[in-house]
C-alpha cells in the first residue's frame, strides 16, 4: 500500500511541476462572461468622448506629470501633482460667488494662517486672466489648514486666481508644499492659460 502511495505522491509532484499555463497568443477567443445585476445602472449609449471623460463643459491641458483626482460638482477640474500627489490644483465654479472676491481672498489667507486684507490691500493685488475674465492673483505662504483638517501643514504655498462673472465666482487654486508649488508654478500658468469653455457640439 505504501509503495502505491509513494508512486502516487511522485506522480502528483511531477504533474504539479509540469502543469501547463493558459496559452496567450496574438488572437484569442472571448470565452468569459459575467452576469449583469438588476441593480446595475444602465449605461448611456453613444456618449461622446467629452461625456465619457467628464469634460462636458470645459477644456484644458493637464500639465505633464500632473494627475486627475476625483472631480465633484464643486470642482469640475481637480488635479494633483508631486511625487505622492501632495499638491492640488482645482477649478471651482460657484453660482453665488461665495461672498465675493475679498471674502474669498481672506478665506484663503486664513487657511494659510495669515491676517485678513482690507479693500485697499485687495486693490493692490496683481491681476490675472482666468477663462477670459480678469481676476485677482493671490499668493500666500504659511501653514496650510485644509477644510475639515485639524492640523496645519507647515511651509506651504497657495497661489490662485479669483474672478467674478456677475453673481458667479470662478476660482483656480493651487496649494502644496512650498518647494513643490515653486517648481510647478509654470505648469500652473500653462494650466490656467489652457482653461476654456467647451462649445456645444
Amino acid at each position: 500500500m505504501f509503495s502505491f502511495l509513494r508512486r502516487g505522491a511522485s506522480a502528483l509532484a511531477l504533474c504539479a511541476a509540469l502543469s501547463s499555463c493558459e496559452r496567450i497568443g496574438t488572437r484569442m477567443e472571448i470565452t468569459h462572461t459575467r452576469e449583469i445585476s438588476q441593480y446595475e445602472a444602465t449605461p448611456k449609449l453613444h456618449a461622446y468622448a467629452q461625456e465619457r471623460f467628464g469634460d462636458e463643459r470645459l477644456s484644458w491641458k493637464t500639465p505633464e506629470g500632473w494627475a486627475r483626482a476625483e472631480r465633484s460638482q464643486m470642482r469640475p477640474v481637480n488635479l494633483t501633482f508631486g511625487p505622492n500627489g501632495e499638491g492640488e490644483c482645482y477649478l471651482a465654479m460657484l453660482p453665488g460667488g461665495a461672498g465675493g472676491v475679498l471674502a474669498n481672498v481672506n478665506r484663503w489667507r486664513k487657511q494659510m494662517g495669515q491676517p485678513e486684507l482690507d479693500e485697499a490691500a485687495l486693490e493692490q493685488l496683481p491681476k490675472k486672466v482666468l477663462m477670459g475674465i480678469q481676476g485677482v492673483f493671490v499668493e500666500v505662504d504659511g501653514a496650510y489648514t485644509n477644510v475639515g483638517a485639524t492640523e496645519a501643514k507647515a511651509d506651504h504655498r497657495l497661489i490662485g486666481i479669483i474672478a467674478s462673472l456677475g453673481e458667479a465666482g470662478l476660482f483656480v487654486k493651487m496649494v502644496g508644499p512650498k518647494a513643490l508649488v515653486v517648481t510647478n508654478t509654470a505648469a500652473f500658468e500653462e494650466f490656467v492659460a489652457s482653461l476654456k469653455l467647451r462649445m456645444p457640439q
Partner: protein, 389 residues
C-alpha cells in the same frame, strides 16, 4: 555483489521526503517572508505579494553599499508546493506508523490540510468591495485588483443582454504600447484589437498626432496601493463590414464607448471585475463613532436588509461581526464621504476554504496534545514501574 541502483521514482521519493529538502525549503520560506515583508514598503502590498509569495521564482536585488546584486530565489508558490510534497512524502508516507506516532501523524496531516487551504484560497477566493449609500441596494461586489474589458450588447430599444462578455486582465495586461492582441467571438460582428495598456494613467485632452477623439493616454507612476491605480488602454473595433473605430477606455470614464454593429449597439468599458451574490444587501442606516477629537473611527455599524428571493431579513454588520450566507462573508470595511453623502463600504469575500485553517489549527493542536499526553502517560508508567521495582 553490488547493490541494485535505485529506480528514478524511488530516488525522486527519497529526495521529496528528505530532511535536507525540508531544511532548505523552510530556510528559503523564512528568507522570502522577510524580504517580501520589507519590500512592501517600496512596492506596496499587492506587488510584493505577487513578487515574493505568489511566484514560482523571483530575482531580488540585494543592495551592498552602492552595489546592487541581483539574486534569483525560489518564489513562495514553488516553496509551498515543495513543502507540501516534502510533508506528504516525509511526514506522512515515510513516517513510522503506529499508536506511538498517531498524534504526530494527525498534526502532519492537518498541516497538509492547511497548505491545501492556502492553495484553494489562492485559486478560488474572490474578494471585493460593495459600497452602498443609505437606501441603496446591490447584489454584486467589485474586485480590488482584477480589471476587465467588458463588452455588452444592447438591442434597438436599448435593452441590454443579461450577461456581458469579459476579457480578463491577464489577457491584456502585457499589452504595453507597441504590443497588440485581437479578441474575437463567433457571435460578435467585430473583432477588438487591444493595445497600449497602462496600469495607472490619466486621459488628457490632446490635439497631438495619434490622439483619439481629442484625447491621449498620459501614463503616471503606479500608486503603491493598487486600488488607487486607474488603468487605461486603446482599442480598435474592426467591424466585419470593414469599418474601424478607435477609442480610449479608462477605468474612471463616466460612460462606456459605444459601437453600432450588426443592428445592435455594443458598449466597451474598462472596469473592475464584478461578481454577483445569490442575495442582495440594502443599506438602511449607517452609523459611525469616532474617537473623541479625531477623525479616527472607533466603530462603524451598518444596519442592512438581506434580500433573498424577495424575502427580507434585517441584519447588523459591524467591525469584526460579518454577515455570512451561502459561502459569502460580508464585512464592514470602511466608509467614504462623497458629494452624495456618507457611503458604507463592505468587503465581500467568497472562499471555499474559509474555515479550513481553523479546522486545521484545531487538528494540529489535538494531534500534538495527544502525542504529548501519550508521552506523559508512558513516562509516568515507567516512573511508577521503576518505583515498584
Amino acid at each position: 555483489m553490488s547493490a541494485k541502483p535505485a529506480s528514478l521514482p524511488a530516488r525522486l521519493f527519497a529526495f521529496l521526503s528528505s530532511y535536507g529538502l525540508a531544511v532548505v525549503v523552510l530556510s528559503f520560506l523564512l528568507l522570502i517572508t522577510y524580504l517580501g515583508t520589507v519590500a512592501q514598503k517600496d512596492l506596496g502590498l499587492l506587488d510584493s505579494q505577487r513578487k515574493y509569495f505568489d511566484s514560482w521564482w523571483l530575482i531580488h536585488d540585494f543592495h551592498l553599499g552602492d552595489m546592487v546584486l541581483p539574486v534569483p530565489l525560489p518564489g513562495g508558490g514553488l516553496l509551498m508546493v515543495a513543502l507540501f510534497f516534502n510533508m506528504l512524502c516525509g511526514a506522512v508516507i515515510r513516517i513510522r506508523k503506529g499508536w506511538r506516532t498517531i498524534g504526530v501523524l494527525i498534526s502532519h496531516l492537518a498541516i497538509l490540510f492547511m497548505l491545501a487551504a492556502g492553495f484553494v484560497s489562492f485559486l478560488f477566493k474572490t474578494e471585493g468591495a460593495m459600497p452602498l449609500f443609505e437606501g441603496q441596494a446591490s447584489d454584486q461586489y467589485q474586485s480590488y485588483h482584477e480589471r476587465i474589458l467588458e463588452i455588452r450588447r444592447f438591442d434597438a430599444a436599448g435593452k441590454g443582454e443579461p450577461a456581458a462578455r469579459v476579457i480578463p486582465m491577464r489577457h491584456f495586461a502585457d499589452l504595453a504600447p507597441g504590443k497588440a492582441r485581437v479578441f474575437h467571438a463567433g457571435d460578435l460582428p467585430f473583432e477588438v484589437q487591444v493595445t497600449g495598456y497602462r496600469r495607472n494613467a490619466n486621459v488628457v485632452q490632446s490635439d497631438e498626432a495619434g490622439s483619439i477623439e481629442g484625447y491621449r493616454i498620459q501614463e503616471v507612476s503606479n500608486a503603491k496601493e493598487d486600488e488607487a491605480n486607474t488603468s487605461a488602454l486603446e482599442i480598435t473595433v474592426k467591424i466585419k463590414d470593414g469599418a474601424e473605430q478607435k477609442a480610449i477606455l479608462w477605468e474612471r470614464a463616466a460612460e462606456p464607448f459605444t459601437v453600432d454593429a450588426g443592428g445592435s449597439a455594443y458598449t466597451f468599458a474598462l472596469a473592475r471585475m464584478k461578481w454577483k451574490l445569490p442575495f442582495a444587501i440594502r443599506l438602511e442606516d449607517f452609523q459611525r463613532e469616532l474617537h473623541p477629537g479625531t477623525m479616527k473611527a472607533r466603530k462603524y455599524t451598518s444596519h442592512v436588509t438581506k434580500i433573498t428571493d424577495g424575502r427580507e431579513e434585517p441584519k447588523v454588520v459591524t467591525m469584526n461581526v460579518p454577515v455570512r450566507d451561502q459561502g459569502y462573508v460580508v464585512y464592514q470595511a470602511s466608509f467614504s464621504q462623497g458629494a452624495n453623502g456618507e457611503q458604507s463600504v463592505f468587503t465581500v469575500a467568497k472562499n471555499p476554504s474559509d474555515q479550513w485553517p481553523l479546522w486545521s489549527c484545531v487538528a494540529v493542536a489535538f494531534g500534538l496534545c495527544l502525542h504529548f499526553l501519550m508521552h506523559l502517560v508512558r513516562f509516568l508508567r515507567r516512573a511508577l514501574q521503576s518505583k515498584t521495582a
